[in-house]
């Protein structure tokens, strides 16, 4: 694969040509498609052409269980496309000479392509969730060239693993250490930035029961956790600098961290936080928010209990939630711009290089890896009401051959449903059988649009802004 990557680097156009996926010739809906469509929209990023029938054939429960335990295989064309990106194959120090924008662009393209084409959409949904949970801002302190390692070693490795292991990996991630200023955290000048966000945003939650004194003592525990920058050492890796560590005794959340612990002080803090009931609740509420659209209710208690019983095993929490009827019966969940863009690419069977479409994410307000604050992109609809114009323009450009590096074959797509064009657009985009009283169908019928126009309008509809 490495040799392949080198030889393909110069011919991305050919790669993307090869990566053009064939559309199924029969896109008639299976019986009762709507619960399956909601399942795909919530667990992943919506159906690709033909996927509703595939999932209906094997059964939704079987599909969810497959998704919870992805194997190493994936869509071959996707792997070919990803092989072009050196940011995915090299370690951080090697990327230092690349311009920041180039690294971020490659990483963003990989995120878009994986969410669009991977066989494992649940994993990509979880990567999106954890990427925002452990947010890194590419434009601060040259975070761009450290983020690819963080993306691989922290987020993707543990996305469906255990939360405490992901937390431990994040704490030693050079991208996180520099993003939250921990390289400035030394025994003479403890810097509280990482300590505070670790408890407020990564584990306990803001009302999780810690005090300002805990913040200060946790900061002391992490003094000396920094990034290697000495000559002839593996630059850009985690380094514990014992000279900068405050080795005194500390009291953290009622636990005594005994003196002389060195690097184990921070590791002990991470273990305390990873096993804390407030963390269990906080992570449980994040999961219910992601999959049910709400942070309250019986599922929070249930998932928090599973967290505590399984030491934060993520698939053990997801399994009952994703196989429950509550998943497909809940209120619609608003799509963020990334969710909208990827679901539009999927539902139309679009070809994309993952690069040209990034300008549309900018205009919708969600350029990837570019949220400055450590809380990650907001998931409330209210934050994204300014994105509607960007969504409509993307829907239009994608379907009219005007989006750089992306396109769809609208007429072939609609014809495969064996329905009239307006009805076909509703079937393809909204995954529902169209009765004569379907309001969207009536509106599309009156629009005088051709296949491209109908598809654009269906993607622009309010219904498609939710999952």
């Amino acid at each position: 694969m490495a040799a392949g990557a080198a030889s393909l680097a110069g011919c991305s156009r050919m790669v993307n040509e090869v990566a053009r996926r064939e559309l199924p010739t029969d896109l008639r809906l299976p019986p009762n498609p709507e619960p399956t469509a909601r399942l795909l929209g919530r667990v992943g990023f919506g159906p690709r052409p033909g996927e509703l029938s595939e999932v209906a054939a094997i059964g939704p429960g079987t599909w969810v269980h497959q998704q919870l335990a992805p194997d190493a295989s994936d869509d071959p064309a996707l792997m070919l496309q990803l092989a072009q990106f050196e940011a995915l194959s090299e370690d951080a120090a090697e990327l230092r000479d690349d311009p920041d924008w180039n690294v971020t662009q490659q990483l963003s393209a990989a995120a878009i392509l994986r969410a669009t084409y991977s066989r494992w959409p649940l994993r990509e949904r979880m990567v999106d969730l954890w990427t925002n949970h452990f947010n890194i801002y590419a434009d601060k302190a040259r975070g761009a060239f450290r983020k690819p390692t963080d993306d691989l070693k922290v987020i993707r490795t543990h996305a469906l693993g255990t939360f405490p292991e992901m937390l431990a990996a994040s704490a030693k991630s050079p991208a996180m250490l520099t993003y939250l200023d921990n390289q400035l955290n030394d025994r003479r000048h403890p810097n509280e930035n990482y300590a505070r966000e670790l408890m407020e945003l990564h584990t306990l939650g803001v009302h999780g029961g810690y005090t300002q004194r805990d913040v200060m003592n946790v900061a002391r525990c992490f003094t000396g956790w920094t990034v290697e920058n000495r000559f002839l050492r593996p630059r850009g890796t985690f380094r514990f600098d014992a000279d900068q560590h405050d080795d005194g005794e500390k009291l953290v959340l009622g636990h005594v961290i005994t003196s002389g612990g060195g690097v184990s002080d921070g590791e002990e803090v991470l273990a305390i936080l990873g096993a804390h009931p407030s963390t269990a609740r906080f992570i449980a509420s994040k999961l219910t928010r992601t999959f049910l659209g709400k942070t309250e209710g019986p599922w929070v208690d249930r998932l928090a209990n599973i967290y505590l019983q399984t030491k934060g095993d993520i698939p053990s929490m997801l399994e009952p939630l994703l196989t429950s009827d509550d998943l497909v019966n809940g209120e619609p969940i608003p799509k963020r711009p990334f969710d909208f863009l990827v679901s539009a690419l999927r539902v139309t069977g679009a070809a994309t290089d993952g690069i040209g479409v990034q300008a549309y994410l900018d205009r919708m307000g969600q350029p990837l890896f570019s949220w400055p604050m450590p809380d990650g992109y907001p998931d409330r609809a209210a934050a994204w009401t300014g994105s509607m114009l960007g969504r409509w323009n993307f829907a239009h450009d994608l379907t009219h051959g005007a989006a750089p590096g992306a396109g769809v074959n609208a007429s072939e797509l609609l014809a495969s449903t064996h329905a009239d064009p307006a009805r076909a657009a509703v079937i393809v985009v909204l995954s529902r059988p169209t009765g004569s009283d379907d309001p969207v169908l009536e509106t599309l019928r009156s629009s005088k649009g051709d296949a491209n126009g109908l598809l654009a309008l269906a993607l622009s509809s309010p219904e498609f802004q939710y999952r």
């Binding site: 994204w384 300014g386 994105s387 009156s446 126009g453 309008l457």
Partner: protein
Amino acid sequence: MSNDWRSCDGYREALAAATPADSMASVSRRGLLVGLGMGAVGWLAANPTLAQIAVRPGSRNQRVLVVVFLRGGMDGLNVVVPKEDAYYRLRPSLGLKGKSLLPLDDFYSFNAKLAPLLPIYRDGRLALIHAVGSNDHSHSHFEAMSAMEHGLPQAGSGTASGWLARHLESTRADTSNPLRAVALGSTMPDSLRGASQAIAIESVADYRLTADDPEFRKTLGDLYGNGKDPYTEAGHATLEVLDTLNRLNPAAYRPSVRYPKTDVANALQQVAFLIKANIGVEVAALDKGGWDTHVAEAQWLDANLDDLAQSLAAFYTDLGGETARTTVVVQTEFGRRAAENSGLGTDHGRGSVMFMLGGEVRGGKVYGEWPGLEPNQLEDPGDLRVTTDYRRPLAEALRHCGNPNPSAVFPGFVEQPLGLL
């Protein structure tokens, strides 16, 4: 724009874009007259499409509040500098002296990078408030910003909506206007969270459908005609704003003065366009990032102040006669530690400076009680004390802009006007 909250790296663009030619001279009284003639009146007369737009009832006299949020914590002590020995003891390297200072009165001086604002100050239309801040002692950007954008003494007191959103809610003048408030950026800031008649716009000139097809626009109107979910309501408002802006043809608009080529200048230029167009905008919110000067402060602060001062001065001149109904508030989440640190920068502190400028501002004066910089006057761990609650100037601005009860916007707050307006 609103995402541009960089600690240090973002300044390079600002440095590169700063145009030294735009000195004080271009923002002189002559500039102001040019602004009056060509900016407001000249452009309106020369733009026949404007005549076709029904000016909203009462909107011509509608006062406008422009809020500029400086994200990262502006170092007020090196922006409006006190004449105190302690200042130089605390800041042996960063302390400003000589030609780096422009005296405002017997005690305070401007950082010389603010020279473009000096004529407005001397003209009595720029007021400064020193040692201003919130009651947030966390030293956390996010907590402190959250406090201010929600209009609270400190973060996390349970109010979800933004202070500007509550202001709009409590003065519901014209419920049919989709553009009572505008955020210049791609996402809505917390201060406008919950506002139903607000929209985030990155670029007024680019605010149009790429589909050159009236049928597409019409069908979107049908799709977004009714429905009470957030995206349907947002889509409905977006279409109304699109129609309004398309009639105004912002792409053909030219400002009456030359603005710097920076993000904040670009945002202010668009605010000026919207104010002049007289379409009922009551609130505009925008950000300028990059004030978190932990290291090499002089370099970053100079570039940032240069940009801010030139941009505000250009905006003020460009507005011409419209300054009479415009009030600009410049705020930041906290100031910085009184003593410089070992990296020739400053760490997170407390009290900072607020600016208020506009045609009806009682300026030419530094407001607020000076808390002093002697060790016994500083607050742990060595911060300028906050002697003026940041909500005092904001409440005055709200009352000035027609809010009959600003205390309702700031829960538990009792108005104590400084006499700014």
